[in-house]
Amino acid sequence: MMTNNTADKFIILSLRLITYAIVLVIGYILFDIIRHGASALNWQFVSSFPRRSGAAGGIFPAIVGTFYLVTGTIAVSLPLGIGGAIYLAEYAEQNRFNTLIRLAIVTLAGVPSIVFGLFGLGIFVLFCGFGPSILAGSLTLACMVLPTIIVASEESLRAVPKGFRDASLALGATKWEMIRTNILPYSMSGMITGSILGIGRAAGETAPILLTVAAFYLPRLPKSIFDQVMALPYHLYILATQHPEADRIRHMQYGTALILLLLVLGLSLGAILIRTHFRKKYRW
């Protein structure tokens, strides 16, 4: 029979091994991508247009395209998501209608990304008449990350202690003054962090942009939000699976993957920096 102490040690060891396993998997993926992709990385690769259908040249337009899409997605989803979260956390009463809203948000989070793509194609590209464009793609991606942003933001709003709320109201603050001065500043770090992580995921999605914005090859950069763009995930998809020379351009595929990865890591790093900044500013 195991004593309590041995059982405890066993549990701790198992949990530790599980954690190591996760780190190992991530580490291997990173290592593999860097090992194969590093050779493709050079200034020309990130700054020039693709040649021979992407078998040579660079991926500059895809980087620019993904950058535009991420920016557009942030611009649309952040205000909407945070606004919705404020409503749900601070104003919405517990009634059937609001339960339905929550249910809808949870369901939205579980919708496969290709369905978002079809939705975007139907609504933004065709019905609204935006055509395949940065606008349609950003709106589609925004719909996809909204649940993540709302859930993360609502949680961090609710985490603000009741004492701060009571104190503000008792000093004669209106509800909105209370939220603006004594809830949002403290929950900002959680809201931004959660949102950026969600957007980071969206940046790497292929399915939603496949039908709404992404082009296989464009000879010039987009001039307006109604133009199509190339995008890193789609470019990678093409290079890896649709390209006639797929077997011979591994370094291009890995290089593209590495850039995409760096972009997402950059976003996460930004999220961490923002969080540290706010944590230092408001600690309790």
Binding site: G163, F164, D166, L169, A170, L171, T181, Y282, R283
Partner: protein
């Protein structure tokens, strides 16, 4: 003036600032206050005492309408402050809360600087002049007897203060809005004896300018700081009288049982 029939032991010329008549309060289907009628005199300290769950805090929070924030709660009856019904439709809750400040059981300074904590109230009420704000902050911290301890670190985070200092900061923050009435919900119950004493001394100083209503679990504290005491039990007001009278010669058996420690 005082209704002599209810309060035979109050001085005859006592000015009453808060009048509650037949107040009932409900948390959803649960009734928490039954028919509370109570007068609270200006510029004196009134203590609300009673065992946990007796409704004393609920009643206190009715006086600045903090209970409004609780979903499905409902108040009946009338509460007037300076002859104005505070539950009348169209009452400006912001104005009410400027008039009636509150200090909570758990000190709750904002995670901002000491200065910004005290300036919070005046700022949201539109004070922008930096000199005036600095004046208000200094004056409020002086009144709350904490100025000397914090004057050299006004821009340090308030979370770095000790528990007792935090609570006095919260009192300063409440005073900065310029209230006439101060509600205190067990303001010292989370503090060590020395900090408690400082808070009690402070209440003694503030009583000359403010009407203070204090909820306390601690009967010795009620006896030390208050002029009048109201005893609540199971949502009802059992007895209200001059503090020495309550603690030496209460009229009701329940009051006597409670203050002598037979229950509660």
């Amino acid at each position: 003036m005082v209704e002599q029939s209810i309060y035979p032991n109050y001085p005859k010329d006592l000015e009453m600032v808060i009048t509650a008549s037949q107040v009932n309060f409900f948390y959803g289907p649960t009734q928490a206050l039954f028919d509370i009628s109570l007068l609270i005199p200006a510029k004196h300290v009134t203590a609300l005492i009673g065992p946990s769950g007796c409704g004393k805090s609920t009643f206190l929070r009715c006086l600045n309408r903090m209970n409004d924030t609780i979903p499905h709660s409902r108040v009946e009856g009338a509460i007037s402050i300076n002859q104005k019904d505070i539950y009348a439709p169209g009452t400006d809750v912001v104005e009410l809360r400027k008039e009636v400040g509150m200090v909570f059981q758990k000190s709750n300074p904002f995670p901002k600087s000491i200065f910004d904590n005290v300036a919070y109230g005046p700022r949201i009420h539109g004070e922008k002049d930096q000199r005036r704000l600095a004046e208000i902050v200094e004056q409020s911290l002086q009144q709350a007897a904490i100025w000397d301890e914090v004057k050299d670190r006004l821009h340090a985070n308030a979370m770095g203060l000790s528990g007792g200092q935090q609570q006095r900061l919260c009192i300063a923050r409440a005073l900065a809005v310029g209230p006439k009435i101060l509600l205190m919900d067990e303001p010292a119950s989370a503090l060590d004896p020395k900090s408690t004493m400082r808070i009690e001394d402070l209440i003694g100083e503030l009583r000359t300018n403010y009407t203070i209503v204090i909820v306390t679990h601690n009967m010795q504290q009620a006896a030390r700081v208050s002029d009048y005491t109201a005893f609540f039990y199971e949502g009802r007001l059992i007895e209200c009288d001059a503090t020495p009278k309550i603690f030496t010669n209460p009229r009701q058996k329940q009051t006597e049982d409670y203050i002598t420690g037979r229950f509660g």
